[in-house]
Amino acid sequence: MAISELPVPTWRRKGKRGQRAAGSTVKHLVLIILSVSFVFPLFWMISTSIKPTYEQMRWPPIWIPNPFDWSNYPQAVQFEPFFHYMLNTFNYGILSVIGTVLSSSVVAYGFARINWPEKNFLFILMLATMMLPFQVTMVPLFILFKHIGWVGSFKPLVVPVFFGSAFNIFLLRQFFMTIPFSLSEAAYIDGASEFTIFMRIILPLSKPAIATIALFQFIYAWNDFTGPLIYLNNQSLYTVSLGLQTYVSSYGTQWGLLMAASTIATLPIVILFFLTQRTFIEGISLSGLKG
């Protein structure tokens, strides 16, 4: 009998019941303290956003105001068109999701499922581009996009995504490699082309991985700041992050309004995160393990 087949590892069983319970309580206590410090800032953001100014500055603090004062929200939206910014951000997100899913899946197939001589070299080159800092390509790309009149539109942010993004290609390639090659071989013998195999066999089997990269891309776009800061110089195109940043520079000390605006910017993405947690956590775990 191998050690791994033992019913319960004996080292976990050792120790008196009381000792183990105490150990477990300590673990939970540490984890609860840590959890509270991770959640507290977000709690405080919402709490501040539903308090009138004089209550925000009170000590001992008013944890949960009674009654809730919602007036910061309509005011925040009145000073800056946050719903319009949200629509812009949403469009940016959806377009870049379409772009990355179309391009990254095709490219990943070429890297994962076809054997050809230059494949490995190009794959390493692609991984190396992940190390290229944004700042190195920033200036020439800005000049290029300015020359062709794209600055002041979403094109500089969205068009490059349609040519595949290294991280997403990498993630999909890792997933495609796990699909048995006998499936492709059988289809090939039946006369299917690589493109047919890609469309009919690999893509349908890869829905979870595709969902993961779509999600990553959407969250990336929603939270992106540097790209919009450089290219969206027209207020009607602002994303929520950019809108929020201008808000800080104009209403720097009105914390109730700022927290209401931050809550508005954060809420959609947090809801999306809760709805898609499993896909999300699995995707992140995958990214680290086969690297």
């Binding site: 050690i3 791994s4 033992l6 590892p9 540490v30 984890l31 840590l34 959890s35 991770f38 800032p41 977000l42 405080w44 925000q56 001992p60 603090p61 391009s103 490219v107 070429g110 076809i114 050809w116 230059e118 494949k119 190009l122 190390m131 290229l132 800092p133 944004f134 700042q135 190195v136 390509t137 200036v139 020439p140 790309l141 800005f142 000049i143 300015k146 490059p160 040519f163 595949g164 290609i169 013998i189 890609f198 939270n223 700041f225 929520v240 992050s241 950019l242 929020l244 940043q245 914390w255 700022l258 927290m259 910017a265 954060t266 947090v270 995160f273 992140i284 775990s285 393990l289 690297g291």
Partner: protein, 314 residues
């Protein structure tokens, strides 16, 4: 291939156990290139071209209004005498050298806690990950409020327990620790990756060590850490690349202040490019940044031969 039959195939098999027909090899090469062609076009247009163009601009004086003017190594020489350049380089190194090791230790510690036999692991994991999905600008605004010296929660709390608050973002000494503290709030991604790595460590190893009389710390030191060392390498490299490009939080929260003590390299680079329109100088800085990141990554990779353990596979 089983498609072909006849004596010729049998003799060829002796030389090459898995022969693929020449025609199929040629076709594979063509379809391979075809499938990755979107990436090739993107690589040429959005990586290689700007990468080389930055090098070109770094030897010029350029403000986007007049055509670039060749000035040789002037931009690079100018860096040596520019105090803000040195200050920003120092700030970024300070942030990276403290944040990367600190976040690695904290993330591994939390992942180890989560990996123990506890109830509600999924809930804790969600809680630790949650701050990482908050938009960076929103979390910057939020921490601006928490760090506020007059009414912010952190200083009010410190005052209540009798410690005068250091003023955080308004203090030349405390602004960097404040940003590092805020950075630690967003380490959910490495925590999740470490946890996945920890769950892949075989139980037999702990079992055997326990029978040999190893205590908890020895088990962590001699089993857990070596077994997850490839994951540590992955996270450390991502951490280094990210820290050298650190930009959004100081841009939103301090604009580099007070007295440039939070003027990080990427922020100074951005200001040169888009506020002062010194595009040549900014390009030279960008190239330097690339070289620094490349060297730091290579250094970590080379050192990894000493501390990363790849099991029996390699």
């Amino acid at each position: 291939m089983s498609v072909e039959v006849g004596r010729g195939v049998v003799t060829r098999r002796k030389r090459n156990p898995n022969p693929v027909s020449k025609a199929r090899q040629r076709r594979n090469r063509l379809t391979g290139w075809l499938f990755i062609s979107p990436w090739v076009v993107g690589f040429l247009a959005f990586a290689l071209f700007p990468f080389l163009a930055t090098l070109f601009y770094s030897f010029t004086n350029y403000n986007m209004l007049n055509p670039p003017q060749f000035v040789g190594l002037l931009n690079y020489k100018q860096m040596f005498t520019d105090p803000l350049f040195w200050q920003s380089l120092y700030n970024t190194f300070f942030y990276t050298l403290i944040f990367v090791p600190l976040s690695t230790v904290v993330a591994i510690a939390i992942a180890l806690l989560l990996n123990m036999n506890i109830k509600g692991r999924a809930i804790y994991r969600t809680i630790f990950y949650l701050p990482s999905v908050v938009p960076l600008v929103a979390s910057s605004v939020l921490w601006l409020w928490l760090f506020n010296p007059s009414f912010g929660f952190i200083d009010a709390f410190l005052r209540a327990v009798g410690i005068p608050g250091p003023g955080w973002l308004y203090s030349e000494v405390w602004v960097k620790p404040a940003l590092i503290l805020m950075g630690l709030w967003g380490i959910g991604q490495p925590i999740v990756i470490y946890l996945a790595g920890l769950q892949g460590v075989p139980h037999e190893l702990y079992e055997a060590a326990y029978l040999e009389g190893a205590n908890a710390w020895q088990r962590v030191r001699n089993i857990t850490l070596p077994m997850i060392s490839p994951v540590i390498l992955f996270n450390v490299i991502l951490g280094i690349i990210g820290s050298f490009q650190y930009f959004t939080q100081p841009y939103v929260m301090t604009q580099g202040g007070p007295s440039n003590t939070s003027l990080v390299f990427a922020l100074y680079l951005y200001q040169n490019a888009f506020q002062y329109l010194h595009l040549g100088y900014a390009s030279a800085m960008a190239w330097l940044l690339f070289v620094i990141i490349l060297l730091a990554t290579l250094l970590v990779f080379r050192s990894s031969a000493k501390w990363v353990y790849y099991g029996g596979e390699q």
